[in-house]
Symmetry: D2
C-alpha cells in the first residue's frame, strides 16, 4: 500500500499517517520526492488488514490518494492457487481443457417442452441442461417461472437423460430447495452481489455457477466468487454474460469477451461465456459462441427453445433446435481443430 500525501503536507501530517500505520502493527517507509512525499507499507497485507488500514488512513489530513499494490481477492487468485480448478459434476468436467455446452430454454414451461429441449441438447452432444424455475424479471407483470413445479420437471428430465442440470436460485432461503433438485446452482447477474445468497450457496457445497453483474468490475466479480469460496466451497464456475451496453439499440448487453483471458490470467476458476444474454439477439449467438471458444473460454451457456416463437420469456435470444444443432456441429469441429493445432 502506498499513501500519497498532498503537496505541502506538514511534517506533523506525515507523522500522523506513520503513527496510524504503526498502530496497525506495520512499519511505514517515507518516500521523499521533489514536490511531495509518499508513505509506503512494504508488508504484504491480508485483505482484512488492507481494508482496515484504508479506512483508518483515508480520512487523515493531507492524504491525497491511496494506491494498492495487490489485488483484493486471495482464494480466487491464480497467484495464490496456481493449480487450475476443474469442477466435476456427474462425470462432466468443467475447466481443464474441456469445452462444455450448457443448453436449454430460458424457462421450464412444461414437462413436454423441457423433455423436447433435453432431447435436442443430448442429441447434439451437449452435456448440461439449463432451465429456469424461478425467473428474475425486470417487470412484475412478466412470467415468473413455474417455481418448485419447474424444479421437479428438471429433476425428472435430468434423471431420464443423464444430463447435468443447472438452474438459478434467487434467494438464500431457497438454496436448499433448488439444491435438492438440480446439480449446479446458478447465481444470476442481478444477484452477483446478493451476499446472503452467495454465503448460502457456498455453504450448500453444490457447484456454483456465478454470473458477472452488468456493471461489476473484475475485482468485484472475483470478490463475489471469494464469498462462495470462503465458505469452504471450492466449486465455483465464473460466467461472463455481458456488461451494461453503450448502445441498447442493437444488442441487449456488451459482451466483454476479453474478460476471458483477463480472468484466466488472474484466477484459477473455470470461465464460461453466455452469448445469449451477452448479445440478446439469436442471430449473433453463433458468432460469439465460436469467438468464446477461440478466446479460451471453458464453455458456453446457450438459450435454445423447441419453438422460440411461443417462448414465455426471452424468445428473441433463443436459438431454434436447428440453429442449436448447427452451432454444436461447428463448435465440435472447431474444438477438434484447436486441440490438434494447439492454438493459444
Amino acid at each position: 500500500m502506498l499513501i500519497l500525501m498532498r503537496v505541502g503536507a506538514t511534517d506533523e501530517q506525515v507523522q500522523n499517517v506513520c503513527a496510524v500505520i504503526r498502530d496497525h502493527g506495520h512499519e511505514p517507509l517515507v518516500l521523499p520526492g521533489q514536490d511531495r512525499l509518499a508513505v509506503g507499507i512494504p508488508d504484504a497485507l491480508t485483505p482484512e488488514e488492507r481494508i482496515n488500514l484504508e479506512m483508518s488512513i483515508g480520512s487523515l489530513e493531507a492524504v491525497s490518494k491511496i494506491t494498492h499494490t495487490s489485488r483484493p481477492y486471495k482464494l480466487a487468485s491464480l497467484e495464490f492457487h496456481p493449480e487450475r480448478t476443474v469442477v466435476e459434476v456427474k462425470g462432466v468436467k468443467i475447466g481443464g481443457g474441456n469445452f462444455v455446452v450448457m443448453g436449454g430454454p430460458c424457462s421450464v414451461e412444461s414437462l413436454e417442452q423441457f423433455q423436447q429441449s433435453a432431447e435436442i441438447v443430448r442429441a447434439s452432444g451437449a452435456q448440461i441442461l439449463r432451465g429456469g424455475a424461478f425467473k428474475p424479471r425486470s417487470s412484475p407483470y412478466a412470467f415468473q417461472g413455474l417455481a418448485e413445479e419447474g424444479l421437479k420437471i428438471m429433476k425428472q428430465v435430468g434423471d431420464e437423460t443423464g444430463l447435468v442440470t443447472i438452474s438459478e436460485v434467487m434467494s438464500p432461503d431457497l438454496v436448499s430447495l433448488v439444491a435438492e433438485y438440480v446439480d449446479i446452482l446458478q447465481i444470476g447477474a442481478r444477484s452477483m452481489q446478493n451476499f446472503p445468497l452467495l454465503i448460502e450457496a457456498g455453504k450448500s457445497g453444490k457447484p456454483v455457477f456465478l454470473k458477472r453483474g452488468p456493471s461489476a468490475t473484475i475485482d468485484e466479480f472475483l470478490l463475489a466468487a471469494e464469498y462462495v469460496l470462503s465458505q469452504g466451497n471450492p466449486r465455483v464456475i465464473l460466467c461472463e454474460r455481458g456488461v451494461t451496453p453503450l448502445d441498447r439499440a442493437y444488442t441487449r448487453n456488451t459482451l466483454d469477451l476479453a474478460a476471458v483471458p483477463v480472468l484466466k490470467e488472474h484466477s484459477h476458476l473455470p470461465v464460461i461465456v453466455d452469448p445469449s444474454h451477452g448479445t440478446g439477439v439469436a442471430r449473433y449467438v453463433s458468432a460469439m459462441s465460436k469467438a468464446a471458444l477461440v478466446a479460451g473460454a471453458d464453455g458456453i451457456m446457450i438459450e435454445m427453445h423447441p419453438n422460440p416463437k411461443v417462448a414465455l420469456s426471452d424468445g428473441a435470444q433463443a436459438l431454434t433446435p436447428e440453429q442449436f444443432t448447427a452451432l454444436m456441429r461447428e463448435i465440435n469441429a472447431l474444438a477438434k481443430f484447436l486441440a490438434l493445432n494447439v492454438l493459444g
Copy 2:
C-alpha cells in the same frame, strides 16, 4: 406498439405478424411506406399484454424492430396516478414539499457510537436516523455489521430520541426481523433487482426506501418500485445514489442528479438523493446536497460519523459532526429561501 418490418418483407410475412396480433385480441394497422412497412397496434396495452405480444412477435421472420409507445410501469407512473405520494412515518412527511434529511453512520458500531450520532442528527434538526446493521460489502473480509444486535441498538436509540429510523434489509427472510425494529426498510442499490426481497418488502406494509442500482435505467428503477407497489404497499420512496462511473479515479459513482426532474416528471413517488454514495468523497457531499435540494429532490441521505477516522466502514465518505451540522445550517437557510422565492 409499432412493429417495423425489414425492407423487402413479403406479404406473407406481414400477414403473419397481423395474425399473431389478432390472436392476442387486437386489431393490427398496416402502415405502408416508401421502402418498408410498419404494423401498428392502436390499442393501449397493459404491461402483461405488451410483454406477451413482444415475445410472440419478436422472433417472427422479417421483423426488424419493435418500438413502444408507452412506458412499462403503471402503478409508479404519474400519468396514471396524478396525485403525488407523501409517505408519512411517525409524523415525518416524505414528499409533498418538505425536504427531509436522513443522517447517521454507515454502520451501527456500538450503542455509544450510535447514541452520539443520533444526538448530532437530532440537534441539527434532521428527522431521520440511518444506520446499517446488515452491511452489503464487496469483500467477504470487510466488516459485515452487528446484525440483530445492531437493530436492537437502533430501536433503543430511535425510542430514546423520537427520530424515525431506517436500515437496510438484504434478504427476504430477514424482512420481518428488520421490520420489527426500524421504521423504514431500505433496499440497497445492489438489491434493486432482488425480486423476492422487493415482494417481501412490499408485503410487509412498511415504508420502503428503494435505491437505484448502479447500472439501472429509469424504467428498470420504476419497475423495481412497481414490484413493491404491486403487493399493495403504496409507501415507496425512490433514491438516486449514483450510477456506474465513467472515471473511478476521482469519485466512487457518477451522481445522476438530472434523474430527480426525470423521476418527478414520470412518477408520483418522492425522490431522495444520496450524495455520500453518489460521490464517495466527504469533501463533495455538501455541494451535491445543496444541488439536490435546488434540483427538486424531497430530501437527502447523508453519512455522518462521530469520528470518521475510526469508522468501521465507508469512513472516506462520512462527514464529521461539525461538517454535518454546518451542512444542515446551509440546507435550512437555502430551503427557507426557496420556499419564500418559489423557485423551480
Copy 3:
C-alpha cells in the same frame, strides 16, 4: 416516424401535430388507443426529412416521445446497398471473404525501426503495414510522432517492400499531405466525429479506414461513415477498437466484438478489429485476434514493434516480432480451417 402524445392531450394539440406534418408534405395517421393517442407518418422519410420533422415536432405541446421506424443512415446501409463492398488497394482486397492483417508499430520512429517492422510483417504473410507519423496523444508531453519525416519513411519502406501502407491523419489541412505518401488514410477513434476531417478524407478519393469512437453508438459510427460516403468516396473500411471500459484496471478499453455481426448485418462495408487498442495489453491480443476472425471480421490491425521495451509509444500493447509471427501462423491455420469448413 411515430409521435406518441401524452395522456390527456387535447384535440387541439393533436391537430397541431397533424398540421405540422402536413406542412412538411406528409399525411398524418392518427392512431387512437385506450389511454392515449399516437400520430404516425407512413411515408418513408429521407434522413433530411426525418431530422427536420423531428425538430419541428419535438417541441410541440403534449408530445411525449418520437420514435423512428428506420435507421438514420442510407449510403452505409446494407438494406439500401445489398452488395457488400470490397475495398481493393494495390491488389489487396479488404472485404469479400479475405482476412487481412495490418501490422506494424504504433509510431514510425526511424527508418531502421520501420524497415525492421516491415520485414517482419512481410515475412509473416501480412499484407498491410501500419505506422503513425502524426500521433494523437492524451498528454502534450508524450512523443507526438515524426510528422512528414515519418510519412517519407513510410513511403520509402512501402515502395521497397510492396506492402500497402496505412497512417493516421488528424486534421483536414493535412489530408492531402498524408494522401501523397500512404495508401490508406486512417481516421482515429478520437476523430470519428471530426466532421471537417471526414469530409476532406471523403474528397481525397483515397480508401478511408474509420475507427469507432470510444463512446460512439452504432448509428453514430455509421453516420460518420456516411459523411465520407456522401462525398462520393465509396472506399470506407470500418474498425472496431474498443469502447469506454467499465473497468480500467485490467484493460484499456472494452472490445465490443459483437459489433462485428451487428455491423455486418446493417452495413455493406468491411469491418476490421483492432485488438491492440481494444484491450491495451499485448498478452490478450492473440485471443482477441482469433476471436475476431471467427466472429466474421474482415481483418485485424495489430501493433507490433521490433523491440517493445524501447517503443516511444504504446509499448505495453505491442507484440514482439516472435509473438506477431506466431499469431500469423495461428491466424493462417484457423482461416484455412474456416474456409474449408464453411463456418458462420
Copy 4:
C-alpha cells in the same frame, strides 16, 4: 511511481527493473513484502519522465502493475498554480466568484433571429452571447450552419449589443477566421481530443472554452486543457456538458455535476456547466442550472431560441425567451442569496 512485481518474480527480473530506472537517472527503492516485491521511485517525475519510464518498464518481465503517485497534468493543476484563474473578456470576468450566463441559440440562422436572441439575452442580464456558425452534426444530412456568414452576423450583433460572443471552431485551419469575428473560441465535446485544434487555439491567444468529451476522464479533460496552456495561452475555461448516458431513453447525456467540485479541487481554471446538452431536454434545464450554481460552478451555458419550434437544430433542448428570462430571474435571486449567506 510504484512498480508492483508479480508473485515469484526472480532477483534478476527485479534487478532488471532497477537497472532501467537507473538508466533514466533515478534511484529505485526496493520495497520487500510478504509475498511479493514492489519497486518505488521516490523522485518527483515530470510528465515526460513519467511517460517515458512507464513505457520502458511496462513491458519488462514479471511487472504486474504500475501505479502513479501524481497526476499527469501540471499547468492545469491547482497544486502547482494555487491562484485561481479569472478569464477577463471585454470586462466580463469568468471565474473569481462571478456567475456568468452564456445564452443564445444553437445555430445562428439569420441576422433577425440572432438579433432577437441577443436582445433577450441582454435584457435578462446575461453577459455572453452564444451561437453556432460551424455546426458539428452527427448526420451529414442535418443543417451544418451558416459558416462565415454566421460569424459576420455574430460580429455585427456583438458590436451592436456590447455582449461578449462565443462560437465553436471545429478545425485548426479555421481558428484564425473564427478568432477574427468572436471573442471566445469554443472547442466542442467531440473535438476535446482534436490535438491540432487545441494547439492552434492555444497559439491564437484568444480565450478558449473547452468542453469535456462524452467519455473523457477528468485526467484526459485536464490534459486537453494542458495542450492549450502549454502553448502559452493561460485563458482556458472548462465546461462540463454531460457524459455518455447510462440510459438514453430520458436524457441525451448524464450531467456529471460532481465534476464541478472535483475540477475545482484539482484545477485553478474556471468551470462552466452546460445543462442544455447535459440533459438534452428543455424541461430539465432550469433545475440543473440552479444546481450548477449551488454546486460551485462559475457559470452556465444555455440554449435559447426566439422560437424553438422552428429552430434548425437542437430545438428540443432550447428554452423559449420566456423560460430563459424566468430562469435568469431565479438565478439572479439565488446568486444574491448565496453571496449574502456565504454558502459553500
